[in-house]
């Protein structure tokens, strides 16, 4: 303790002397094997058949063509090379970037294969991907707000479903805007119930979330079959149409993807930026993160841990409720179990996005893209059974979560009850 400054420095130096562990070597090898497997798959699936030129549309009349079979060969060869390097000496700090590039190349090859000899609107697919990821973003933001404060939220599915249901019913009786507001209130209250049970009664947070999901599913299905089917006047709101951002939507490529969407997309993007700022740059954010990481530390400094949790969880519910109303605005009515598991994908998005709003946005885009691509493929007659396309987003979720899995750091106090005497 004689010269603390230098001691600290020395300690940090020690932290910097990093050895490659056997575990990392093994992981590197597994990754290399995965590259080889993908190379073989590409060769045997995408590089066969009639091939032909795939024409990708970029919005308007601009297109570009790619010969699908040569592309598949390029993909296979680069994967094989990458696999070789990965196994023999690893790719060090380029690893993540290379994985991302490889994934892009693979998806592009896949699209070219599916669209061989046909037209494929790239901008259209990306537009749909952004659209499909919107409810995931809202669900995930709700999850982030909740979990950053230390409360596990697996009730996202239920909160979204409650939002969809409420906005449809209230929207039919009054109007869609009041419906959206009501959705936020109802989901906010449900989330408050989650917080109350978890905080006040120490109910396991995984179980409460689970129970809320099935309570909402039960109630909405019950009312749907008992009331809505016989009284269609309570279930029909009309949809909310797209709003082209003046000027910006004329931009090439970006315009049709980003600026010809419903207001949900704009709100989602704005909210991602706002919450990211608030979490890391404000007093509220500092206290929220402290409450999620080390509630006793926050509590001993006079911060009201439980109040902060109640408020944040309720806000999180309101955000999810707003996200739920997306379905009503999109479809114009409520159907039984309309969210169909998207809330669970949003849960995965929270983890994959490492509890960061921007990370979650990225992850949501990946899943939205899987969704949009599956839809697109079903129109392209690729020969892939429609059932496989339906399960694709869930499979992608599993694979992505599995590869990020252990790396994901969660708020330290997540799920642990905080006792105030």
């Amino acid at each position: 303790m004689n010269q603390p400054a230098t001691l600290t420095d020395a300690y940090l130096d020690l932290a910097g002397s990093v050895t490659r562990t056997p575990d990392q070597v093994k992981r590197s090898r597994n990754l290399g094997i995965a590259y080889f497997v993908l190379a073989v798959v590409t060769l045997f699936v995408f590089a066969r058949g009639d091939g032909g030129t795939s024409t990708f549309g970029l919005g308007g009349d601009s297109t570009f063509g790619v010969p699908s079979i040569p592309l598949a060969w390029i993909c296979a060869v680069s994967f094989a090379a990458l696999g070789g390097v990965q196994i023999s000496r690893g790719t060090g700090r380029w690893q993540s970037a290379l994985i991302a590039a490889a994934a892009l190349l693979f998806v592009f090859t896949l699209m070219a294969w599916a669209a061989a000899g046909k037209q494929f609107s790239l901008t259209g697919t990306l537009h749909d991907a952004l659209k499909a990821s919107t409810p995931l973003v809202f669900g995930a933001l709700g999850g982030i707000m909740c979990e950053r404060s230390g409360i596990i939220n697996i009730a996202i599915e239920g909160l979204l479903l409650a939002g969809a249901f409420t906005s449809a019913v209230v929207g039919s009786v009054v109007n869609i805007w009041v419906g959206i507001l009501a959705a936020m209130v109802v989901s906010g209250l449900l989330a408050l119930m989650l917080a109350w049970l978890a905080i006040r009664f120490h109910v396991d947070q995984v179980i409460v979330g689970f129970a809320i999901n099935f309570f909402v599913l039960g109630v909405t299905s019950f009312i749907d079959s008992r009331v809505l089917t016989r009284n269609p006047e309570y279930n029909g709101t009309g949809t909310i149409s797209q709003w082209k951002v003046p000027g910006l939507h004329r931009l090439p490529i970006v315009g049709p993807i980003l600026f010809e969407q419903t207001f949900y997309v704009y709100v989602a993007l704005g909210l991602v930026a706002f919450i990211a700022w608030a979490l890391f740059k404000t007093k509220w954010g500092l206290q929220t993160r402290a409450v999620g990481e080390h509630p006793t530390a926050a509590g001993t400094l006079g911060i009201d841990v439980l109040r902060r949790r109640y408020i944040n969880v309720t806000l999180a519910g309101a955000i999810s409720g707003f996200g739920g109303s997306w379905w009503t605005a999109d479809v114009g009515r409520f159907n039984e179990n309309i969210t169909n598991g998207r809330g669970f994908i949003a849960l995965a998005v929270v983890l994959v996005g490492r509890h960061h709003p921007v990370g979650a946005l990225m992850a949501a885009l990946v899943f939205g893209f899987a969704d949009a691509l599956a839809l697109k493929f079903s129109f392209l007659n690729t020969g892939i059974p429609s059932e496989f396309l339906e399960l694709a987003p869930f499979l992608v979720t599993l694979v992505v979560v599995a590869s990020v899995g252990r790396g994901a750091r969660v708020p330290a106090a997540l799920g642990q009850p905080y006792e105030e005497q």
């Binding site: 303790m1 004689n2 603390p4 400054a5 001691l7 600290t8 300690y11 940090l12 020690l14 932290a15 002397s17 990093v18 050895t19 490659r20 562990t21 056997p22 575990d23 990392q24 740059k281 404000t282 007093k283 509220w284 954010g285 500092l286 206290q287 993160r289 402290a290 990481e293 080390h294 006793t296 530390a297 926050a298 509590g299 001993t300 400094l301 006079g302 911060i303 009201d304 330290a412 105030e420 005497q421």
Partner: protein
């Protein structure tokens, strides 16, 4: 400022933690609150700090009755607390931890980081704490983390500062540094409460000593007039033996041989740095060191709980380098883990089940598929008696026993078989004096029965009392190998702080 606690009583289900406790704290003096583990010291201070609410009794500030609903109230009244387990958010910077709750803000609640940085730096300089406001807590050594805690208290301008077991994580030299900080706080007119179970330290720094036993104040003492033996007797309620009773060691063949052991964490950072040492049959080797210098990882590597990157571990010539915990167990190695709640016991299991937790696989208790619960229960009954475990029955959940009795369950389970090597990590952390004496005696017995014993403890007193030979760990390396009889607390302390190093032999 004068703070008075009058008639404080606090009950938890099944125990009275504080029973009619009275205490007065004045500005400009150091009050030591001593008592053994479980005497109710921390409970009392948590009541003072608004974390708990007393069932009976009243707190007075300058004669006025006050109620602290939350720590916020206590802070506002000028009370600050440095907790035994640091209340720091590991992923935050020093500045963020310090300003938490009283953040300087701009418009829209925006955090004014520059201002926070300056404020923290200013106070740090003023009290000579040498802290970098932008350093991440999780990357700081514990000694530095404690300064951050002190800075937090000063930042809130506390008039009364409570230190809960502050020296537990420090080297003897750091303790001296710490006492200097305490003196300067005292000189600035603050009142200090110093909670400890280390009597020498209380005698060294305190102006007054208050003794707590089983939740009650049993008396006050003037450090000038009382000695350690008398104080210990006051604290425990009976004469206490301050030294471990043992014959000189008679080391025989080398049992544990560790060669060039290298352990890294999952990110590749070195935790145990090419360590070499030997433990002979019939001797107790103590490993001293400040918490977090690789002792935990060393023990985990020896017992098969952590992957070894390089080097070798041998017990009586048998290679155990890449063995599983089960194989280590089967090589007649006992392991008393450092955290009994976390890994030594299954709290929800009965005493009987815990008595076979590491041994259920032995032929005695199972045929590989089925458990022989009759044998397990009769063995547990014998062990409970033999090792003096105070439990209502062997069917009682182990989690409901007191800390000392839980530890005795582990000691009974681990030491009640023929052993080549005993690895005991923090064997007496958080247990009462009676259990400490008992457990120490059992460790010596194991040595005398011919086992090699490795005791790892961050309590230097414990290492010095038990060990025949002392190793010191500093930043993952063994920096000293000393015969107990030829060294002093002070010398070991210098090695612990990294201020001194032996040349490799």
């Amino acid at each position: 400022m004068e703070l008075e606690l009058r008639g404080i009583t606090k009950r938890f289900p099944g125990v009275v933690a504080n029973d009619d406790v009275n205490l007065t704290i004045r500005s400009g003096e150091v009050l030591a609150l001593v008592g053994e583990n479980g005497a109710g010291k921390s409970t009392l201070m948590n009541i003072l700090y608004g974390l708990y609410h007393a069932d009976e009794g009243q707190i007075y500030v300058d004669g006025e009755p006050v109620t602290f609903e939350s720590p916020g109230d206590a802070i506002a009244a000028g009370i600050g607390m440095v907790h035994q387990h640091f209340m720091l958010v590991p992923v935050f910077t020093v500045a963020e931890n310090v300003v938490l709750g009283v953040e300087p803000t701009g418009p829209l609640g925006r955090l004014d980081r520059a201002k926070a940085h300056d404020q923290v730096e200013e106070i740090s300089a003023q009290y000579g704490l040498h802290l970098d406001p932008e350093a991440l807590i999780e990357q700081l050594p514990v000694g530095i983390q404690q300064r951050v805690e002190i800075l937090k208290v000063l930042f809130r301008d506390a008039k009364i500062v409570v230190f809960d077991e502050p020296t537990a994580v420090l080297t003897p030299q750091e303790i001296e540094e710490f006492f200097k900080i305490v003196e300067s706080l005292k000189a600035s007119g603050r009142g200090i409460v110093f909670i400890t179970h280390k009597l020498t330290e209380a005698l060294r720094i305190a102006d007054r000593i208050s003794v707590l036993r089983r939740g009650q104040t049993v008396g006050e003492a003037d450090p000038a007039e009382i000695d350690e033996v008398a104080l210990a007797e006051m604290m425990v309620g009976r004469p206490v033996q301050l030294v471990v009773d043992k014959e000189p060691a008679q080391p025989r063949d080398a049992t544990l041989q560790v060669r060039d052991l290298h352990v890294v964490d999952p990110t590749g950072r070195t935790l145990v740095d090419h360590v070499d040492f030997t433990v002979h049959a019939g001797e107790i080797v103590g490993v001293a060191g400040v918490q977090g210098n690789g002792q935990t990882e060393l023990v985990e590597a020896l017992t098969g709980l952590r992957e070894i990157l390089g080097g070798s571990v041998q017990v009586d010539g048998v290679d155990l380098t890449d063995s599983s915990p089960r194989e280590v167990h089967q090589a007649a190695v006992a392991h008393i883990p450092e955290d009994r709640q976390r890994s030594g016991l299954v709290g929800a299991f009965t005493v009987a089940e815990n008595m076979v937790l590491t041994r259920y696989h032995d032929d005695q208790f199972s045929d590989g598929i089925r458990m022989d619960w009759d044998t397990a229960r009769s063995t547990a009954t014998t062990l409970v008696e033999q090792y003096d475990v105070r439990t209502p029955s062997i069917a009682t959940p182990a989690g409901t026993l007191s800390g000392g009795n839980q530890q005795k369950v582990i000691v009974a389970r681990e030491l009640s078989r023929d052993l080549r090597l005993v690895i005991a990590s923090q064997p007496t952390r958080g247990v009462d004096v009676g259990s400490i004496e008992y457990i120490h005696a059992q460790v010596v017995l194991a040595r005398d029965a011919g086992a090699a014993v490795l005791v790892v403890s961050t309590e230097l007193d414990e290492v010095m009392a038990l060990a025949d030979r002392v190793l010191v760990m500093y930043r993952g390396r063994i920096v000293a190998d000393l015969a107990r009889d030829e060294t002093t607390h002070n010398e070991v302390g210098l090695y612990m702080a990294g201020a001194k190093q032996q040349e490799p032999a």
